[in-house]
């Protein structure tokens, strides 16, 4: 089994403007999927991320990202295990929030030297 980092990306503007009910529905959807991954033994860990952010460069700490035109950012991560990059990608594609076009997931294999 190989390890993969799933970076959950979504439009921060959309997240900020969600009503409490929409937010709870979103959370429920994502949780069900995470529980599925845990149940199938794929989930190794992961946390949702707070919205507060600082972008840091030398002599520069800002709340705006380097790509001001892009409002998309990472809102959570998961560490999973899967047989291959393809399999990991297929798991990510099964996320209901991906299917509903609310988030995108970046799947990155870990460089593991064992």
């Amino acid at each position: 089994m190989k390890k993969f980092l799933l970076l959950i990306r979504e439009d921060l503007e959309r997240v900020k403007n969600m009503t409490e009910a929409e937010l709870q529905a979103d959370i429920a959807k994502m949780t069900r999927w995470a529980e599925q991954l845990a149940g199938s033994g794929n989930l190794l860990g992961g946390e949702p991320l707070e919205a507060d952010v600082r972008y840091v460069k030398k002599a520069h700490i800002a709340t705006d990202g380097p790509f001001a035109e892009s409002r998309e950012s990472v809102t959570g991560y998961m560490l999973i295990q899967a047989g291959s990059l393809e399999e990991a990608a297929a798991l990510a594609a099964s996320c209901p929030s991906v299917i509903d076009e609310e988030i995108a997931i970046e799947v990155r294999p870990l460089m593991v030297h064992e």
């Binding site: 709870q24 959370i27 994502m30 995470a34 529980e35 845990a38 033994g41 989930l43 992961g46």
Partner: protein
Amino acid sequence: MSEHDAMQLTGLLQQLYRAHFGKMVSHLLLRYSSLQLSDAEDLVQEAFTAASAAWRTTLPEKPEAWLYATIRNQASRFRLRRQGHVPLEHLPADPVAAATSEDGDLHLLRLLFACMHPRFTAKVQLVTALRYVFGLQMQQIAELLGTEADNISKIIYRQRQQLRSGDIAFRSGFVWWSAGKVDLALKVLYVVFTEGWKIREERLCEDALSLTREVIRRARVSVPDAKALYALMLFQLSRWETRTNEAGELLELEKQQRQLWNRDMIAVATDYLKQASTVPAPSTYIIEASVAYLHAVAPGFAQTPWQQIANLYAQLHEMAPSPFVRLNQAVALHFAGQTKAALHMLDELAQEPFMKHHHLLHCSLARIYADGNNNHLALQHYRKALWGKPSPGEEAFIRGKIKACLQMP
């Protein structure tokens, strides 16, 4: 080692077992992802066995830390060898500090959430939680739930193979988003608290209370029910000291010394209930906490808003029908001056096979008749109540009432 010392050691071990069993199991599952629940449980048991032998000669300075270090040691070795049994050879000399109690509650909450699987029945969830989260022995659980220890061990045995460290509760912070697990956990915490209250086991009540607080702190979904349950528990606990007299006998609400109720607890509980009540439709937890609130802030027994309480019970019964809710409703109606309606309701309850011989039904009837100066019927019902299944405390209470009835002219 003298006999006295040996007894002290046994006492210490029992106390540590009760307080730390669940925390230690959870600690292992969090730390060592390949462990099964059954392995973790065995490692913790072994550590206690080892302690009871090793501590006879020297008691470690920090017994808790010793235990945690021992299980971690054994778990690493267990993982390396991957064999069924690892002989205990390397006992720690100077262990590092154990987890703080705050970590402990968090570990317990993760373990509780892992026990809360929708595919387990409510009873299985409760039994598992009592065993692992609250650290009760099989025999104690059996007594608490009024069943055979054999049944309990069967349930536990099956569960041991189903719960695993792969559960999201141990793997990821996404578990705090799970409204489903929160709901199930609250149900179990409610039952544990109620049982603890019944058998007057303060420890069980306090554990349930601190885990409910932990749910409120950790959950990322909105948790009005957890807040209402927390309020309910605090309202109850505020009068823990006044439930019994100096002889340890149960006291009726009207005989309790209200000035001794813990006002600070009541204030905190009220605040939580307010926070919980912002939802559009009240849940059963909110209604129950509201009843407890009305009792807690009433200046006296007679000034209690009984009609309002009866109405709340009526509302509760519509949402979650239960003969005990009906019973409480009837009693509240009686104190609100509607004795006829109360008796009618109790007569209906007496038709139900389950309630027919219940001691609480007969105690309520007896009380109403006694209030109406019908000593004869009161006596009759207190006697019937003894045929039900009162707890030892309740039985002593009923016998006291019978004695009082017999002394009446």
